[in-house]
Amino acid sequence: MRQSGRFGEFGGAYVPEILMPALEQLEAAFLDAQEDEGFQAELAELLARYAGRPTPLTRCRNLGAGVTGGGAGLKDAINEALRDWTASFEQTHYLLGTVAGPHPFPLMVREYQRVIGREARAQILEYEGRLPDAAIACVGGGSNAIGLFADFIGDEEVALIGVEAAGKGLDGSDHGATLLRGSRGILHGAETYVLQDGDGQVSDSWSVSAGLDYPAVGPEHAHLKDSGRAEYVGVEDAAALDAFAQLARHEGIICAFESAHALAHALAVAEAAEDEPVLLVNLSGRGDKDVAQAQKLLGLSA
């Protein structure tokens, strides 16, 4: 490895020895691509012409506040993927869709997600003439949140707020609030926060949203929490569902259950504020996948 893969004391690469050559190969390819002007130009072109970036910032005036918005468990899926990879690494790439896992995944996923914060920062400066008071995103493994935060980390006046799934309540065990209720451990290749018992056996997590139902978290969030740069809060299933319904009703936007957690917290902050704060909320995904479940949970018929 060319780098330690550490974010403060967190991160690293805790994998069976046999996977190290594959991680090293990936790290080398990633770091080379970062320096490769041809690759970067092609990526920028694809983002602009194919993905239609930049994604426009949306203002949500109707919600009342100044809000702007930009499975079986994940744990078991990652276990199986890592097992498969220890046999198939010669022919297979392991694609982890979040900033968890061994180095270089947390670094690599952050670098490809930071386009979120880069675009949002430029646009909010243009619209509001200033930086937001807070950037708010949900945290499962932590990729959409790190993507939003990355370009604001140096802006001390911008509060970075990660919203974890408080599920059925933080006092019980049915939640996915790893940073709020977990402790330091090692899972899926990284040293990070983990929901676990005193022996280190990993607990089951819970959330109404599959994407936040994960008992670990990306190591950079563990570092942002311990260093105090970011703050992490919990939003329960019911509050997230309520925010989901409000956004649909008032703005005609159907967002993912995951993203509704971030929105719910933003609404609470806006309500509690005396002035009119500028809040940047990452709507990390569309809610098409969640509509059927929402109808059931909200007691609506199709």
Partner: protein, 269 residues
């Protein structure tokens, strides 16, 4: 002399290799696990490798994962495992005991405390399946400070320089992967071990132990015996019993002949 050194010495005198067996501590429950451990010794194992069950064993296939889940479902905790190791040590003073587990269980107790408790229980070595050489530094020193040999894994795909470092820093024995993939899923040994074993030997590594699993209950060692004739660079083998025996007698019956067979067919290091 350490128990591993004494075991390898005895094997050299016999001009044989050594053969060990793996079991998950506490599977299917504490009382029956004790019986199975004794059966492993009665069956002829020269060394035993014992797993401390972890909820998310990413280096293990479905067989060992199921064993860990049975042990956890039976309420087995890390402290129970230490107690079982101590009991086993009292019953079997000479046989080397290696522990195989995962980083999160070690870090939850603290690396130093974990190693000290293992040493107090009478274990000889510790292998942490998800700690590669890249992260091994603090694990190696915690084990050595407690008098526990830190076993490292040598994978056939590792670059030579890494194998030399594994040779230099590992202790007890060198765990050589028989093939890619998780434990116990496929038959056979498909990595080419000749060059790796020669390199390890030249670098002064602790004696190599080849790790593999077998689906077959009876005579699982036939393939190993065919695979490696004596004096081909020399290695020994670790047997992962894939079929869970229903009773201790059953287990003795199924391990006895393969253990002897393998011992005769692998050369001493």
């Amino acid at each position: 002399m350490s128990r591993y050194d004494a075991m390898f010495e005895r094997a050299r005198e016999r001009r044989e290799g050594v053969f060990g067996g793996f079991l998950m501590l506490g599977d299917p429950d504490r009382a029956r696990s004790d019986l199975l451990l004794d059966a492993l010794v009665e069956g002829g194992a020269d060394m035993v490798e014992l797993g401390i069950p972890f909820s998310d064993p990413i280096a293990d296939g479905p067989v060992i994962e199921a064993a860990a889940n049975r042990a956890l479902a039976a309420g087995i905790r890390t402290a129970d495992c230490f107690a079982m190791i101590a009991d086993f040590r009292a019953r079997h003073p000479e046989i080397p005991v290696g522990i195989l587990t995962y980083a999160n269980l070690v870090s939850a107790r603290g690396r130093e405390a974990f190693a000290r408790e293992l040493a107090a229980a009478g274990a000889d070595s510790l292998l942490v399946a998800d700690v590669p050489l890249f992260e091994a530094g603090p694990y190696l020193s915690a084990a050595r400070d407690a008098g526990i040999a830190p076993v490292l894994i040598a994978a056939g795909n590792a670059p030579d320089e890494r194998l030399r470092e594994i040779a230099r820093r590992g202790g007890g024995y060198t765990y050589c992967l028989a093939r890619a993939g998780v434990t116990g899923e496929r038959e056979g040994i498909d990595l080419d071990h000749g060059p790796m074993l020669a390199l390890l030997k030249a670098a002064g590594a602790p004696p190599p132990i080849l790790g593999f699993g077998s689906r077959r209950k009876r005579r699982p060692a036939g393939r190993v015996a065919r695979f490696r004739r004596p004096n081909e660079g020399g290695d020994a083998a670790r047997l992962t019993p894939i079929q869970r025996p229903r009773a201790a007698e059953d287990f003795s019956a199924c391990t006895e002949s393969p253990y002897r067979l393998v011992r005769r067919h692998v050369s001493s290091y």
